[in-house]
C-alpha cells in the first residue's frame, strides 16, 4: 500500500547561507490588500511632506575672497577642486571636501573677467581687466618658486570672457571680437566679428566642439563655426543676454540667460523661436549652467536667488536663497550632478545640494528602494491638489515675494490689455503673439 506523506522541498524554505534573507511567502491576492489607491495616496502625501521637511539644500559657504566673486570654473578631472576669480583680480582654488582655499593667486589688476580650465586639468586660463590672458599651472609653485603664470598674452583690448576647447589646445576669448587662440601662439589664429558691440561671453559647444556661441551687448546671440572661421547666425532678443550655456547631452540646444528676467532655451538650428522660455526670476539672470545630465540647469540672478529649471519646463522646480546671499553673479553645477556652487557679490561661494532633500552619503539598498518608491509615488500623484500644493510650496524672502506679486499683476494687466485690444479691433487685424515669439526681435543670417 502506498502511503502519501507530506513532503516539502527544503530548497523552498532553507537558506543557503546565514547571510541570506529568510524567504517569506507572500500572498499577492488583491482581495487581501484592499484600498490600494487611497493607501498609495497617503504614502505619496507623506513622502511629499517628508521631502519638504528634509529639504535642507545649503551645505557650505566658502569665504576668503575680499571682493565679489566674478567667475567660477570646475576642474575637469577632480570633483573636489573649484576655481574662482574675484573682482579684485584674485583667483582662488578651493578644495570642496575640506571646504578650504588651497591656493590664492593675485592674477590680474582689476576684475578677473573670466576663468577656464584646460581639458586635461593641468592648467587654467584667466582673463582680466588689465587686457591680459594668463595661463596658470593648476599645481602650486614649488618651494621657493614664485607664483607666476605659464604664459601671458597682452592684448589690445579688454577681454571679457574666455572658454577652452573641450579636446584641443585651443581657447577662445571675447571682447571686441571673438578670438580663437592656439595655446602655443601669442596671436589669435582666427578672429571672428559681426557687429561692433562688445561681446560679454563665449562658450564652446561640448559635443560638436568646433561650435561656439557668444552673446554681445547689442542684445544678440551669435553662433560661430571655428572650422569655417565664420559666424553662422545671429538672433536678436528684446534685451541683452548675459551668458549662454550649451546642453552637454544635446548638441544643438543651448540656454541663454537674459536681462529680461527670463531664460531662453534655443535649438540652434531654428533660432526664430526658442524651444522654451523659462521664467520665474524677478530680476536679470546673470549666469546659467547645465547639469551634466542635461536634464536641468541652474540659473543665478540679480534677485539674490538661484533657481533650478528642468529643461522642458518653463517654471523652476527649486529656488535657493539665504538671507546673506546677495546678487549671485556666477553659478556652476558640479560634474557629478549632485551639487551646485554659486558665487555672489558678498564675496562668498556657496555650495548647495542639487536635490534639496536628498540624503548624502551611502544609502543601504532598502533606503534606496524606499527613496525610489517615494519618488515614483510623488510623480504619480503630483497632480493631486494637496500634494501639488505641498510640493510647490517655497518660502521666499519678502523682496522676491512682493516682486513676484507685482510682476504677476503687471503681466495680468498686459494680458488683459492684449485681450481687450483683440476684442475691440477688427478681426484679423490684431493677432496674439505667442510667448515664445514675443521676445525675439529678429534672426539675422
Amino acid at each position: 500500500m502506498k502511503v502519501k506523506m507530506l513532503s516539502r522541498n527544503p530548497d523552498n524554505y532553507v537558506r543557503e547561507t546565514k547571510l541570506d534573507l529568510q524567504r517569506v511567502p507572500r500572498n499577492y491576492d488583491p482581495t487581501l490588500h484592499p484600498f490600494e489607491v487611497p493607501r498609495e495616496y497617503v504614502r505619496a502625501l507623506n513622502a511629499t511632506k517628508l521631502e519638504r521637511v528634509f529639504a535642507k539644500p545649503f551645505l557650505a559657504s566658502l569665504d576668503g575672497h575680499r571682493d565679489g566673486v566674478n567667475c567660477l570654473a570646475k576642474h575637469p578631472k577632480s570633483l573636489a577642486t573649484v576655481l574662482s576669480g574675484a573682482c579684485d583680480g584674485e583667483v582662488r582654488i578651493w578644495n570642496l571636501t575640506k571646504r578650504k582655499c588651497i591656493r590664492t593667486i593675485q592674477a590680474h589688476e582689476g576684475f578677473v573677467r573670466g576663468i577656464c580650465t584646460r581639458f586635461c586639468g593641468t592648467s587654467f586660463f584667466t582673463v582680466g581687466d588689465d587686457k591680459t590672458v594668463k595661463q596658470w599651472k593648476m599645481d602650486g609653485p614649488g618651494y621657493g618658486e614664485e607664483e607666476e603664470p605659464l604664459h601671458t598674452i597682452l592684448g589690445k583690448t579688454v577681454y571679457t570672457g574666455i572658454d577652452h576647447h573641450w579636446k584641443e589646445a585651443v581657447f577662445a576669448t571675447c571682447g571686441q571680437q571673438v578670438d580663437i587662440w592656439d595655446e602655443q601662439r601669442t596671436s589669435p589664429i582666427c578672429s571672428m566679428t559681426w557687429g561692433f558691440d562688445s561681446i560679454s561671453s563665449v562658450k564652446f559647444n561640448p559635443i560638436e566642439t568646433f561650435l561656439l556661441g557668444s552673446c554681445a551687448s547689442d542684445r544678440n546671440i551669435v553662433l560661430y563655426d571655428m572650422r569655417q572661421a565664420t559666424p553662422l547666425k545671429k538672433v536678436i532678443l528684446d534685451m541683452r543676454t548675459n551668458t549662454i550655456c550649451w546642453n552637454p547631452m544635446e548638441a544643438f540646444i543651448f540656454t541663454a540667460a537674459n536681462e529680461d528676467y527670463n531664460l531662453y532655451t534655443f535649438d540652434m538650428r531654428a533660432l526664430d523661436t526658442p524651444v522654451m522660455v523659462h521664467m520665474d526670476h524677478v530680476s536679470a539672470v546673470l549666469d546659467v549652467d547645465y547639469s551634466p545630465t542635461g536634464k536641468e540647469f541652474v540659473s543665478a540672478s540679480f534677485d539674490k536667488s538661484i533657481r533650478i529649471f528642468p529643461v522642458d519646463k518653463s517654471r523652476s522646480r527649486e529656488v535657493y536663497h539665504t538671507k546673506r546671499m546677495q546678487h549671485v553673479i556666477c553659478v556652476k553645477w558640479t560634474s557629478d550632478s549632485k551639487y551646485i556652487m554659486c558665487g555672489s557679490d558678498e564675496m562668498n561661494i556657496r555650495l548647495w545640494k542639487a536635490n534639496a532633500s536628498e540624503k548624502l552619503g551611502v544609502l543601504t539598498s532598502r533606503e534606496k528602494a524606499a527613496k525610489d518608491y517615494n519618488q515614483k509615488l510623488k510623480e504619480k500623484f503630483q497632480h493631486h491638489p494637496h500634494i501639488k500644493r505641498i510640493a510647490r510650496h517655497r518660502h521666499l524672502p519678502k523682496s522676491i515675494y512682493s516682486q513676484i506679486q507685482e510682476q504677476r499683476i503687471m503681466k495680468e494687466a498686459r494680458r488683459r490689455k492684449e485681450v481687450n485690444r483683440l476684442k475691440h479691433s477688427k478681426p484679423g487685424s490684431v493677432s496674439i503673439v505667442p510667448e515664445k515669439k514675443k521676445h525675439i526681435v529678429a534672426v539675422v543670417k
Binding site: W166, M226, L232, M249, A251, P292, T293, D336, Y373
Partner: protein, 772 residues
C-alpha cells in the same frame, strides 16, 4: 534692401551671360546675332543696375543718336517699336564682300570681348558664407537628433554614459612579466620547456599543431562529403516523416496500418518457419497482451474520453465511429489467436461433431456465453446484423422443434433451458438493435408504433409456439399492426409514451446499440414519421411477411431516413408534466409572497422609496427664474397679483439639464451631487501628458508599491529616470559613445589652414548655392 535686390539681379544677369557664352565656336547666325544684341542690352541694363547701386535712382535720358521713322515727343527710343535693328542685318552685306574682312574681324573681336564680372559686395559675400556655413553645420548637428530623442524618452538613463571597460590582461602578458624563483617553480618550468609546452598564446603543443595539420586535404574532403551526405539523408528522412505525419487522410493511415499488420504477420510466419521458438515467444507475447487487455478497462468505452464521446455520439457520426473503433480494437486484442488454418478446420469438425452430439441450442448458448463470441469474430461493421438474424433463425427453428417435441428431450430441465435460450436470444436481439429495447415495454402497453417492432414481432411469430404469453402478444401485434394507422389517428394520446422512448439513446451502452445508432441516424425521430411509415409498412407487409425479415428491415430503414428529411415532427406533448411542476412552484412562490406581505403589512417601503425618488428628481431639476416685480407698471397692493402676461414675460425658463443617471433605473437613486470632501483630494483638470481621463485613472489605479507587486515588478516600476553614480564625473556625450564617427581632423588643424584660401575656394560654391 534695394542693394540686395540689385545684387540679385546682377547675379541673375551674369548667369545668363554664362549660358549664352556656351555656343561660342559655332559660326555666326542670325539668332546668334540677336543673342549678341540681347547681350548688349543686358549689358546696358547691368550698367544701369550698377549705377543704381549707389542708391540714387537716376533716370537716364534716352539720347537720339540716329534718324528714325518714329520719334515720339517723349524721348522714347526705337526700342520696342516694331523696327528693331539687328546686327545680322548689318553683317549680311559684310559677308558677301571680302574687302571688309578687317571690319569683320574687328566686329568679331568686339563680340568676343566680355565685361568683367563685378566683384560681390563684401557684406554680401559674408552673408552668403554665413548662410552656407550655417546650413552645413545644422545639417551636421541633425545627426544627433535620433540620439537626443532616444535619451529624452528613455525609461532610465544611467550616467556616466560611457562604459568603463574592465581590462583583463591575457595570461601570456601576466606570464611574460613573471619569473620563476623558487626551486619548485624552476623545476616546473624546466619540465614545461622540455616538453615544449607553450607558455604563450596559442596554447598548443608542437605535437598538437602537427596533428592539426596531419589530416590531408583529400581525406578531409572525403570526410566532409560523407558528413554532408549523411546530413542530407537525415534531413530528407526527417522531412519525409514530417510530411507523412501531416497527412490527414484517415484512409491513408488505415491502409498504412493494415500494411504494417500484414507485414508483421508475414514476418511472423517467416519466423515460424525459420525459428519456431522465437515465433512461440512472439505468440506468447501476443497472448500476454491479450490477457492484459482483458484485464484492463482500456478499450471498453468506459473511460473519460469514451463517456464524453458517448454524449456526443448522439449527434456526431465521427464520435460514434471513434467509439466503435475503440471497441473493435478491444475485440481485436481480446480475440484469441487462431493458430493455423488446419486447426480451424479441426475446430470446425469438432463443432460439427458437437452438433451431432449436443443440440444446437446448447452449443449456441455456450458459444454465446464463454467462447469467442461469433459477433466478435466478424467485422463489427458489416456482419453482425445478418449474422445475428440468421443465427436467430437457425436458433429458433430447432428450438421450436424441440419445444413442440419437448417430451423427447432427455434432460428434464430442457424446457427451462429453452426458455432461457429464448430470453437470451431476445436479450441479444435487444442488444443488437436499440429498437428491441422499446419492443418490450411497447408490447406490454399494447402500443405497436415502431416499425422495427414489426420485425421483432415477425421473429416472435416464428417462436410463438414456445411461449404462450409471447404468442398471444405476438398475435395481438400482428392484428394491431394492421389497425395501427386508424388507431393512431384516433388516439394521438398514445404519443405520450414518447418521452420514455426518448430515453433510449442514453441506455445504449453496448457496442451493438451504438452501431445501430450509427446506421439509423437519429433513432428517436424514427417514430415520428409514423403514419407514413406504417402506411408503407402495411402495404408491404403482406408480401414480405413470409420472406426474410432482414431485408424488410433494411428497406424500412431507408424509408425512415427519407421521411426523416421530409416530414415534420408533431409537437411533443411531453410538456404536460413539467407545466404541472411549474404551477406547483408558482404556487409556492405566491405563498411566500403572501407571507412576506403579511409580515410587512404596515410599512409600504416601495411607495416611500418612489416618493423619495420623486423628491430627489424634483430637487435636482433646474428651477425657473421668476423676475416679475409686482406693482411695476401696473397697480400693486395687497391681494393684487401681477398679470399672467407679465409673469409669462419675466419668467425665465431654465434649460433642461442632462438626463439623470437613474432615469431608467426604477429601484435606484443616484446622487449626482459632488462630494465636496472628496473633491478636495481629486484632480480637477486632466494633466498634460494624458489625453483621456480613463488613461489617467488607469495610471492612478495601478499600484506600484511592494504590497501589491512582486519584488521584481516593484523594482521595475520604481526605477528612477536618471541614475548617477556618486563621485563620478559625467562627461558630455561623445560621438564615439553613441556609435558615430567623430570627425577625424581636429578642429585646430582646420582652422590653421589659410582661412583666406578657404574663403576663395568657397566663393564659387557659394555663388552657385546662392543662385540655386
Amino acid at each position: 534692401m534695394s542693394t540686395v535686390r540689385a545684387a540679385e539681379s546682377l547675379l541673375a544677369l551674369s548667369r545668363q551671360e554664362e549660358l549664352e557664352d556656351l555656343p561660342k565656336d559655332y559660326p555666326l547666325s542670325p539668332s546668334e546675332d540677336e543673342g549678341d544684341i540681347d547681350g548688349e542690352r543686358k549689358h546696358q541694363k547691368l550698367l544701369e543696375a550698377i549705377s543704381s547701386l549707389d542708391g540714387k535712382n537716376r533716370w537716364k535720358l534716352a539720347e537720339r543718336s540716329e534718324a528714325s521713322l518714329k520719334v515720339s515727343e517723349f524721348n522714347v527710343t526705337s526700342e520696342g517699336s516694331g523696327e528693331k535693328l539687328v546686327l545680322s542685318d548689318l553683317l549680311g552685306p559684310v559677308k558677301t564682300s571680302s574687302s571688309l574682312a578687317a571690319v569683320k574681324k574687328q566686329l568679331n573681336r568686339v563680340r568676343s570681348k566680355k565685361t568683367l564680372e563685378l566683384p560681390l559686395n563684401n557684406e554680401e559675400v559674408e552673408r552668403i558664407h554665413r548662410e552656407v556655413a550655417f546650413n552645413k553645420t545644422s545639417q551636421a548637428l541633425s545627426k544627433w537628433e535620433p540620439i537626443i530623442l532616444k535619451n529624452r524618452q528613455a525609461e532610465q538613463l544611467v550616467f556616466p554614459l560611457e562604459k568603463e571597460q574592465s581590462a583583463f590582461a591575457p595570461i601570456e602578458h601576466v606570464l611574460s612579466g613573471w619569473k620563476a624563483r623558487t626551486p619548485l617553480e624552476h623545476e616546473v618550468f624546466n619540465i614545461l620547456h622540455k616538453n615544449k609546452q607553450p607558455v604563450t598564446d596559442p596554447l598548443l603543443t608542437p605535437v598538437e599543431k602537427a596533428s592539426l595539420k596531419a589530416m590531408s586535404l583529400e581525406e578531409a574532403k572525403m570526410r566532409r562529403a560523407e558528413l554532408q551526405r549523411a546530413r542530407a539523408l537525415q534531413s530528407y528522412y526527417e522531412a519525409r516523416a514530417r510530411r507523412e505525419k501531416k497527412i490527414k487522410s484517415k484512409k491513408y493511415h488505415k491502409v498504412l496500418k493494415k500494411e504494417k499488420a500484414k507485414k508483421a504477420l508475414k514476418d511472423f510466419e517467416k519466423l515460424q518457419k525459420v525459428n519456431p521458438t522465437a515465433a512461440l515467444e512472439e505468440l506468447e507475447k501476443i497472448e500476454k497482451a491479450r490477457m492484459m487487455e482483458r484485464m484492463s478497462l482500456k478499450h471498453q468505452n468506459s473511460g473519460k474520453w469514451a463517456k464524453a464521446k458517448a454524449i456526443m455520439a448522439k449527434y456526431d457520426l465521427e464520435a460514434r465511429q471513434a467509439m466503435q473503433e475503440q471497441l473493435a480494437r478491444n475485440k481485436e486484442l481480446t480475440q484469441k489467436l487462431q493458430a493455423a488454418s488446419d486447426s480451424e478446420e479441426e475446430k470446425g469438425s469438432v463443432e460439427e461433431e458437437g452438433e451431432l452430439l449436443v443440440p444446437d441450442t446448447v452449443n449456441e448458448i455456450q458459444r454465446d456465453a464463454d467462447g469467442p463470441n461469433p459477433w466478435m469474430l466478424r467485422n463489427p461493421f458489416s456482419g453482425p446484423k445478418e449474422a445475428k438474424v440468421q443465427d436467430a433463425e437457425q436458433l429458433l427453428e430447432p428450438v421450436a422443434h424441440e419445444a413442440s417435441e419437448s417430451k423427447e428431450e432427455e434432460r428434464p430441465g430442457a424446457k427451462e433451458d429453452i426458455l432461457l435460450n429464448t430470453f437470451e436470444e431476445r436479450r441479444a436481439l435487444r442488444k443488437k438493435s436499440g429498437l428491441s429495447q422499446d419492443a418490450e415495454p411497447l408490447r406490454k402497453q399494447e402500443s405497436e408504433d415502431s416499425s422495427s417492432q414489426e420485425v421483432l414481432s415477425e421473429l416472435r411469430a416464428l417462436s410463438q409456439k414456445l411461449n404462450k404469453a409471447n404468442q398471444q402478444s405476438g398475435k395481438q401485434n400482428m392484428t394491431s399492426l394492421r389497425t395501427v394507422l386508424p388507431v393512431q389517428r384516433e388516439e394521438p394520446t398514445e404519443a405520450e409514451e414518447e418521452p420514455l422512448l426518448m430515453q433510449r439513446p442514453e441506455r445504449a451502452h453496448t457496442m451493438e446499440e451504438l452501431e445501430e445508432l450509427g446506421k439509423e441516424g437519429c433513432f428517436q425521430n424514427k417514430e415520428v414519421p409514423r403514419p407514413v411509415v406504417e402506411g408503407q409498412q402495411l402495404e408491404r407487409n403482406p408480401h414480405n411477411l413470409p420472406g426474410a425479415p432482414k431485408e424488410k428491415k433494411r428497406k424500412e430503414q431507408m424509408i425512415d431516413l427519407q421521411n426523416l428529411l421530409t416530414t415534420k415532427s408533431p409537437s411533443v406533448k411531453s410538456l404536460a408534466v413539467p407545466t404541472t411542476v411549474e404551477e406547483l412552484e408558482d404556487e409556492e412562490e405566491r405563498h411566500q409572497k403572501q407571507m412576506i406581505k403579511e409580515a410587512f403589512a404596515g410599512d409600504d417601503v416601495i411607495r416611500d422609496f418612489l416618493k423619495e425618488k420623486r423628491e430627489a428628481v424634483e430637487a435636482s431639476k433646474p428651477k425657473d427664474v421668476d423676475l416679475t416685480l409686482p406693482g411695476w407698471g401696473e397697480w400693486g397692493g395687497v391681494g393684487l397679483k401681477p398679470s399672467a402676461k407679465k409673469r409669462r414675460r419675466f419668467l425665465i425658463k431654465a434649460p433642461e439639464g442632462p438626463p439623470r443617471k437613474d432615469k431608467n433605473l426604477p429601484n435606484v437613486i443616484i446622487n449626482e451631487k459632488r462630494n465636496v470632501h472628496a473633491a478636495a483630494h481629486q484632480v480637477r483638470v486632466l494633466p498634460y501628458p494624458f489625453t483621456h481621463h480613463q488613461q489617467f485613472e488607469r495610471t492612478i489605479q495601478t499600484p506600484i508599491g511592494s504590497t501589491w507587486n512582486t519584488q521584481r515588478a516593484f523594482q521595475k516600476l520604481t526605477t528612477p529616470r536618471v541614475v548617477t553614480k556618486p563621485g563620478h564625473i559625467i562627461k558630455p556625450i561623445k560621438a564615439e559613445d553613441v556609435g558615430y564617427r567623430s570627425s577625424s581632423r581636429s578642429d585646430l588643424s582646420v582652422v590653421q589652414r589659410n582661412p583666406k584660401q578657404l574663403s576663395t575656394r568657397h566663393k564659387k560654391q557659394l555663388k552657385k548655392n546662392s543662385v540655386n
